[in-house]
Symmetry: C2
Subunit: 453 residues, 2 copies
């Protein structure tokens, strides 16, 4: 048995996902219809999602069985390995024990297919012919494109135009799996055309791309459904395989984490690792600190409000009670594209609000510094998003160095950075910078929150 | 136990490499000094390599113990998984059983660190301060840069200029690990300056880059040593971990291959998978067909001569009896950059010559077609080099479909294609083409072989 790598056999891929909803100390607020600002009905949601997914979205069952065809595909890369970062510990000269769960071993290089495969399966089962989605940097679009292909579903990806042009490799990955990709705003949708009419040179935003993908599904007469890679409850539930495996792997290592850390953009890789450990906190008397890490440049949890807000810029997507910077907030063009969302999943937000999860913000330069140090000692080049978790884990390990405490730290390495080398290049060339928003900018964006109740 | 994935525990990373030299039915010819055309002496080699590596290069020991620090680093990604390609079998509707060994799970995405880590370790042990090497597409440069960093060695990488400019991501990977990269030809070497004086706009070739890396090491007074990522015996030996693991994994699968397939540029991933199976053929009465696959556009084994030739264009590197297209042969700019070498390892060549290994050539378009089909059913986007093995494996499986034979086929998926998406994009855009060289072109290049004896 290795002391540094903890590998599970295929048979230990979880047989059920963990749904945190019934264990939430304070329930997340219901999602509202963006037109009426009343709680959404399954009917409203069924325009966008098939009923089997809607049932999961609102389920209060603690465990949801993973369908065998999904587990079969999971075997391509799951169970993912858990590593003890012994060279990093030595580099930091810390008594802390640092572990990381490596989700970058999936074929597309991130945790995203954990839910993409499940969503493709359920849509196929429900008779959907094609999926629509948006993608920013392209991680989600490539995961869904691969997964849709496995189940013979077509897929239309609305990719933020600036990423489409600046990150051609991800666009190519989507296409290579057979997905159609459109640089958003497009002239394929009413909303896209309205944006282009007003701003012909619009570089696009995730909010616009969501609106386009939603519109195409809504107007398809039921043949096309919309798929989302984060934020929603069923996505968090699908990602729980990460933490369920991690629990078993910590048992193999004969340790239990004092601190669990993951980055959080919409919250999916965070929830994936953290929710099973929160289950242990809530139901099994454990007392692990759970830390969600965000960029200081998009400080949803640390500087945003816990309030109802639209999921998209155009105010067409459901309204969610969440930590938000306001749906009109425009984050700067940091290289962790997956962490540039103005909001946060409702469940993660409720847990932060209740004090079950701590939120910290880290700056871009310190994050890349951590990423480069990690790559040089551990070998793996992390995605800039994942590097936020590395930065926070290193900070905790350095505190242990001061105090002499031998804490056990587990973080999620949610993806590799092979498609993000331009960001590293910019960092080495001294072209990156830190962003701290003036309070007025955040207050201005907050003034556009919908008025509820 | 899964029927589709065969995973070994860390404890089953081989404890010794397999060296095929003592089992060769016909020994490979000795390497010659490029100046004297006499067999090289260890003294000559010691200018370039440390003595511990030279001893391995000429060793007749069947097994060479893997040092513990090397095994420790191997654990980052080894043992690599073996998959049964059941979705590919279904897609092809073949009775064949197709397995692939996935070497793309290493931190740099290919099999190259299997030897890079070992070479860095031995150089560190021997007191080397810095390594010099060349790289074409950048796979080898990134593997050596990562590995040198693990052992606190500096590294200078001479990267073919056209790749340096066209494949910036790999250059960035090398730099991110701390390696220095120079676009070759450079003005850092006498040979580089002589090339630039004559051809100021030279796009570079692997031959020129080798010459530069060799010159820097040779003139360093012993502080810098040269490192090569393929061709040489010790490289083949280090790669044997692939096949040694594969033998164990086939035992787990309760099958034994009828056919073993790998692509071959310099021969290292091929040897890595195939040599342990050849051992079984030679010493254990097995009768597996062993197939080396090359591009039709650089048909070293299928159209070249088995003859003594220089390892580099400048005729500065050792002279090797090998399959060669002539050291002045210029292959077209195909996207499998790792398969554009004019020669082949001496041991692989001798085995081909003796009929122990079959060589086949496949065309670029059919290779990309196979790569895309593989990605869509198996999920993993292969490197263009590895796609040659996929093409040949699919061809064999399709023969089985005709004959109804349930053959067991194992191929090496030597790397992923995340850094090669531009090649896929060109393929989808119809911009790739097949190349078949006129006989005269090959005959012309052959006329520059050194006259021996």
């Amino acid at each position: 048995m290795s002391k540094y790598k903890f590998v599970l056999d295929d048979s230990r891929i979880p047989k059920a996902w963990y749904n945190i909803a019934p264990d939430m100390p304070v329930a997340a607020e219901p999602v509202l219809n963006p037109q009426t600002l009343e709680p959404v009905t399954p009917d409203f949601l069924s325009v966008l999602f098939p009923m089997n997914i809607i049932k999961q979205e609102i389920s209060q069952e603690r465990y949801i069985e993973i369908p065998e065809p999904v587990r079969e595909i999971y075997k391509l890369w799951r169970p993912t390995p858990m590593f003890r970062a012994h060279r990093l510990e030595k580099f930091l000269d810390t008594p802390a024990h640092i572990y990381y769960k490596h989700e970058g071993v999936s074929p597309v290089g991130s945790h995203k297919p954990n839910t993409a495969v499940a969503q493709a399966f359920y849509n196929k089962e429900a008779g959907t012919k094609a999926l629509t989605t948006e993608t920013g940097a392209g991680q989600w679009g490539s995961a869904l494109s691969m997964s849709a292909g496995f189940f013979d579903l077509a897929v239309e990806v609305y990719m933020v135009k600036v990423s489409y042009n600046q990150k051609p490799y991800r666009r190519m990955v989507i296409q290579n799996y057979g997905g159609e990709v459109y640089a958003s705003p497009t002239n394929r949708t009413e909303y896209g055309r309205s944006v282009l009419a007003q701003f012909p040179d619009s570089p696009g935003t995730l909010g616009i791309a969501i609106s386009e993908a939603v519109e195409v599904a809504a107007k398809s007469g039921g043949t096309k459904k919309y798929s989302l890679g984060s934020v929603l409850n069923h996505v968090m539930t699908h990602q729980s395989v990460i933490g369920l495996e991690a629990l078993e792997q910590m048992e193999m290592a004969d340790e239990y984490p004092d601190i669990v850390i993951a980055c959080a953009g919409g919250g999916s890789n965070f929830a994936g690792l953290a929710f099973p450990f929160l289950r242990e906190n809530f139901t099994n008397g454990m007392n692990t600190r759970i830390i969600a890490v965000e960029p200081a440049s998009c400080p949803t949890m640390t500087r945003g409000k816990y309030a109802f807000d639209y999921g998209d810029t155009a105010a067409m997507a459901p309204v969610v009670k969440m930590h938000t910077l306001g749906h009109t907030f425009v984050p700067p063009g940091i290289h962790a594209g997956g962490l540039r969302y103005h909001g946060m999943s409702a469940s993660v937000s409720a847990l932060v609000e209740n004090g079950d999860v701590e939120a910290v913000a880290v700056k871009q330069l310190a994050t890349f510094e951590a990423a480069v140090q990690f790559a040089r000692v551990e070998g793996i080049i992390p995605a800039p998003e994942s590097a936020h978790a590395i930065r926070a884990a290193m900070d905790q390990a350095l505190i242990c160095k001061e105090t002499g405490e031998e804490k056990v730290i587990v973080f999620n390495l949610s993806g590799h950075g092979h498609f993000d080398m331009a960001a590293y290049d910019a960092y080495h060339a001294g072209k990156l910078q830190d962003y701290v928003h003036p309070t007025e900018k955040i207050e201005e964006a907050m003034s556009h929150l919908p008025k509820i109740g």
